[in-house]
């Protein structure tokens, strides 16, 4: 009963929402990146690896230069660079895009551990003192209003960027010629080519976008959510994001809803875990995001099946 009481009280004092926003940010950003690559017909499953690379680069540069902004930019740059490499293999050399993505995942995990050991001589985690974090946005006056203050003020800048990215993606995909080209290239590359659309270049750019968003998410992990790099600290976030891409019905609004569900699962996990003397074994709690993944997949599969049966 302690568990329910704690959850309820956290819902009431809005802590749950604050935690939810924090946890959904990396999922949302990464999933938006995955979405763009998927629409362009080059689905990037290397998101997990990209996040790790960006997370490490970002905190290393931030602590070295004493600037969070340079850190984030460096993280994004590293991630985009790897995406161009992926594009070289997948688009130019025609390596299967899934295999290229796998390679990036393995590379991201291994290479960050390697760098941590070579540069800092550390094996488990890199925890610089005084590395600047992505700032929190305190909104004057609003922060003093009781409920609104907690809802709107004091969030990390990256959380705002994540929400703005949803709007950005909607505009990009539906309101620009580039977005139409992207969709055409993903669905009917021959058609696009016959009209003089540079298919390869569009696909490179789709991968680069996935790099940008996974890079932002990775930087947030090490420079916002925490203030350190831990080996394999993404712990499957990239794959959760990939699940969101598949469930999100190929549009940014769907991605937002999917990210909310997964963010909520992660937030609940954390809240329940931190309850002192919780009667629920921690292993069970840690299952929540994955159980939600399976439940969501089953739910969507059933819904799709039902729709087909209605059509029939």
């Amino acid at each position: 009963m302690v568990v329910w009481q704690t959850i309820w009280s956290q819902i009431m004092d809005l802590t749950l929402i604050v935690v939810l926003l924090r946890f959904m940010t990396p999922i949302l950003l990464t999933a938006l990146g995955g979405l763009i690559s998927d629409i362009g017909g080059v689905i990037n499953i290397g998101l997990e690896g990209l996040m790790l690379l960006s997370a490490f680069t970002s905190i290393a540069v931030a602590s070295g230069t004493d600037s969070w902004l340079l850190g984030v930019l460096a993280g994004v740059a590293a991630s985009v660079l790897i995406c161009y490499g992926m594009g070289f293999f997948a688009i130019r050399l025609k390596v299967d895009i899934i295999i290229a993505g796998f390679a990036v995942n393995i590379f991201g995990s291994g290479f960050t551990i390697f760098l941590m050991s070579k540069i800092y001589g550390l094996t488990g985690n890199y925890n610089p003192t005084g590395a600047p974090k992505i700032p929190l946005v305190d909104i004057p006056f609003v922060q003093d209003v009781p409920v609104l203050g907690k809802l709107l003020s004091g969030h990390s800048l990256m959380e705002w960027i994540a929400f703005l990215s949803v709007v950005f993606c909607i505009v990009l995909i539906y309101r620009t010629p580039y977005g139409v080209h992207l969709r055409a290239v993903g669905e009917a590359p021959q058609a696009a080519r016959s009209l003089g659309i540079p298919v390869e270049r569009v696909q490179y750019s789709a991968l680069a976008w996935s790099g940008v968003f996974a890079g932002l998410a990775g930087a947030f992990l090490s420079n916002g959510l925490t203030n350190m790099f831990v080996k394999d600290m993404t712990a499957g976030t990239g794959f959760l994001a990939l699940a969101v891409v598949l469930l999100g019905n190929r549009n940014p609004a769907g991605i937002l809803i999917g990210s909310l569900i997964f963010g909520l699962a992660s937030a609940l996990t954390t809240i329940v875990q931190t309850i002192p003397g919780s009667p629920v074994p921690s292993q069970f709690i840690q299952m929540i995001p994955y159980v939600v993944t399976i439940a969501a997949l089953v739910f969507f599969a059933l819904r799709k099946k039902r729709r087909l049966e209605i059509a029939a």
Binding site: V171, R175, T176, P177, Y178, V180, H181, R183, A184, E187, A188, Q190, A191, A192, S194, L195, G196, I197, K305, L308, E309, A311, A312
Partner: protein, 513 residues
């Protein structure tokens, strides 16, 4: 008056040594519909690729509107006012009709022209539709409109780009007779409005119906350019093939005997789980050919797959003589005297990376005559392959040639040879002559009729109405997964009549047999 387009002594030798064009002269005058005909491999597509800048000619010159040109790619050709409507539609399925039309050249607005100008897009597309009378809903998703309209979208695409010279590559292959008539009306109206049309086809009836002049290619050379009014089908076909071709397939009236295949109340789903055929019933008797007519995508594929065991039936029965076939495996069904010519020789008819001999053996390797214990008798197989190739006129270097290296017609003959060499009592032939040249069509048709006369039951599925009408003794029309008509193929049955059933405009009360 100088010609609008003049291609002079075009030669094309591919790096692998294949000579596709050897001195083609092709000239098109402004405001005409010019038909370009020739068998597969005659060099039509190469010529058009060269014209469109997709391939560079080895030798020869092109002049367009009086200027010497050499296009670097489709974009270049489009800029000069040429447009190509491809045989396989090039539409992005989830985009709207309007988005497809302007794709690549969207009207833009805002900072750096970064944003789409939807108002202008709507206005321009509506204007095009109005000016050319090509009716289609601009806001519909491209995958929801019928084939005839998809083609209109393709034509609108090239018109949007300001094409004066429009190349249509076998545009009627997927259309019903009614849709073909509508297309021809549109083409005539395009010509009236000052456009010029190159019409690639191998259907001579259409050449006669629509074109002003016709150029015949054979073996990479331009054989003749004729004024359509002053020639006739027989002359064109003789020029195409290089010998006399029998137009009407010679066949005697059928003498049907016992029922070989009887299908009752058959229903099956397509790959998406949507019912593709429902309550289909018919029978095929020994010594007759039952043709299944219909616009492609109305359940023909699923019907054939269900009968041959490639797809599970939801309900109904499939009887072969006294044997229930439903839910038997493909191997079990193949063990009977049942032959199946699949609709797509590239993916399911043949293994392109195997030799001709291996392909011919695919259905026979269990046959004890070709084995010693578990091992295959290579020599026997080679002999068998050689004689089959001779019998079915497969032209290739040897029986060890890779199937993938064969032309469409020769590969199809390999498939036909394999299926007929088991002496089928029931032959299921799906699109048996799709994309093969006139000579091979004539040959395959003769073979099918030979089997019928020898007492086989033949189920013929074809999107080519003329083929159905030429071969069938009875015709069933499949519309939306149901048989809407079952007719005797009498001389007074017209394509128009069948077309009405194919489009679902007419339905006949089909008495269940």
């Amino acid at each position: 008056m100088p010609a609008l387009l003049e291609m002079k002594s075009i030669h094309k030798v591919y790096p692998n040594g294949t000579v596709a064009n050897r001195g083609v002269d092709f000239s098109v005058e402004e405001g005409e519909i010019h038909a370009l005909v020739g068998e597969n491999g005659a060099g039509k597509s190469t010529l058009m690729k060269i014209l469109f800048g997709l391939e560079a000619p080895t030798r020869g010159s092109i002049s367009f509107k009086g200027q010497s040109v050499s296009f670097q790619g489709p974009r270049d050709a489009i800029k000069h006012g040429m447009g190509m409507v491809h045989q396989h539609f090039m539409l992005a399925p989830s985009l709207t009709v309007s988005e497809n039309i302007v794709l690549g050249e969207e009207p833009a607005k805002g900072v750096l022209s970064l944003f789409r100008d939807r108002a202008k897009e709507q206005e321009r597309v509506a204007g095009l539709i109005r000016d050319y009378g090509l009716k289609v809903d601009p806001e519909a998703r491209a995958d929801t409109i019928p084939v005839g309209q998809k083609q209109r979208v393709e034509i609108l695409k090239v018109l949007y780009r300001g094409a004066k010279l429009i190349i249509l590559d076998e545009p009627t292959a997927v259309l019903t007779p009614q849709e073909t008539d509508e297309l021809f009306d549109s083409l005539k109206s395009l010509v009236r409005q000052g456009h010029t049309i190159i019409f690639i086809t191998h259907k001579l009836r259409e050449v006669m119906q629509i074109s002003h002049r016709v150029t015949v290619l054979r073996g990479g050379q331009s054989i003749a350019t004729l004024v359509t009014k002053e020639t006739h089908q027989e002359e064109i076909s003789r020029l195409m093939v290089g010998r006399e071709v029998l137009f009407r397939v010679q066949k005697t009236p059928a003498r049907p005997e016992e029922t070989v295949l009887s299908v009752r109340g058959l229903a099956a789903l397509d790959d998406k789980g949507v019912p593709a055929i429902r309550q289909v019933s018919f029978r095929v008797r020994a010594g007759e050919i039952l043709g299944i007519a219909g616009v492609e995508g109305n359940g023909q594929t699923q019907l054939v797959e269900t009968i041959t065991g490639l797809r599970r039936a939801v309900s109904g029965e499939i009887r072969y003589l006294d044997q229930e076939l439903r839910n038997l495996s493909v191997a079990q069904i193949r063990a009977f005297q049942i032959g199946h010519i699949p609709e797509d020789r590239q993916t399911s008819g043949a293994c392109l990376t195997s030799t001709i001999a291996d392909n011919l053996m695919l259905d026979h390797y269990r046959n004890p005559g070709f084995k010693i214990g578990p091992l295959l008798r290579k020599k026997k197989i080679r002999q068998f392959a050689k004689s089959a190739m001779e019998m079915f006129d497969v032209r290739a270097a040897s029986e060890q040639t890779m199937a993938g290296a064969l032309s469409g017609g020769n590969l199809q003959k390999v498939v036909v040879a394999r299926e007929l060499s088991k002496n089928p009592k029931l032959l299921v032939a799906s699109q048996p002559t799709r994309g093969v040249d006139i000579g091979a069509i004539e040959f395959i048709h003769r073979e099918i009729i030979k089997r019928r006369d020898a007492g086989a039951a033949v189920l013929l599925v074809s999107a080519e109405l003329s083929e159905i009408m030429a071969l069938s003794d009875r015709i069933a029309v499949l519309y939306n997964g149901e048989i809407v008509a079952l007719l005797d193929n009498t001389p007074d049955l017209t394509e128009q009549e069948l077309g009405y059933y194919m489009l679902g405009i007419k339905t006949q009360e089909v008495a269940s047999q």
